[in-house]
């Protein structure tokens, strides 16, 4: 089945890519934007969705610096 995992930088850790995107949005004239954080979407086909957590814990995310969310699967 189709699965989707979102991997996000943990709160409280500087995300310079998010900060750069935030500055760019501001330069483009979009006001009122803050707290931009950039993560990663992993999409995959899995036969055993029960294994998704372990895939995230071991490879897809680094639990020290990232949170993951299984959105489908």
């Amino acid at each position: 089945m189709h699965a989707r995992v979102l991997v996000r930088p943990k709160a409280g850790i500087l995300d310079p890519q998010g900060a750069a995107a935030e500055r760019a949005l501001s330069q483009l004239g979009f006001a009122g934007v803050s707290e931009v954080r950039i993560g990663r979407l992993v999409e995959l086909e899995v036969e055993d969705p029960a294994k998704l957590s372990e895939m995230c814990e071991r490879l897809l995310a680094n639990p020290l610096i990232e949170d993951y969310e299984i959105v489908d699967g």
Binding site: L14, P16, N62, L64
Partner: protein, 224 residues
Amino acid sequence: MKFGVIVFPGTCDDIDAQLACARVGDAIPLWHADHDLQSVDAVVIPGGFSYGDYLRAGAIARFAPIMTEVIEFAGAGGHVMGICNGFQICCEAGLLPGALLTNDNLRFVFRQVSLDVINPDTAFTRSLERGRPLSIPVKHTTGRFYAPESDLDRLEQNGQVVLRYAPSQNPNGSLRDIAGVINEQGNVFGLMPHPEHAVDPLTGSTDGLGLFASLRDSLSGSLV
């Protein structure tokens, strides 16, 4: 003294690492897909872009076949030096605490930095001239050292912070200016700067050679 330098797909600083090791001992390459450390006395995990830094730097290399033996070797007290991508791989493999994040300035930084030796008594620093900073180049996009505050306190209290960027020299926003750390046991050392690029007067500084020489001295029994 035989050094083994691991080579992954995308590794590029293995040759300079082998040449640096060869100045103080013998050096052989160790192929990522093999399960044999070939009786080396110490392992060097060199710099580069193993597996293209895909997913996260070092995240895939950490599961290469040879890493089974490297992790076992380290667990049994074997000495491992992780340089740049090697440091990232050690952190991903749980051989060292913390993680390396994108430089706070979002730039690829390639310049000479001055490093203060915070712990001069490790297997990797004991032969260095005391009190003298090291001039060694850094070359990375993902070198900002991070660990939770309580872990950083513990690292400092335990003497696990080995190298710090000298004042105003921090190229990447590493917390507490940390440039290199060792594990609790003291046998695994990771650093973002490239000592292998500072072993010959041709490149301006030979300060990197002392790290390899210290390791050689520690393992050859000439220092207890």
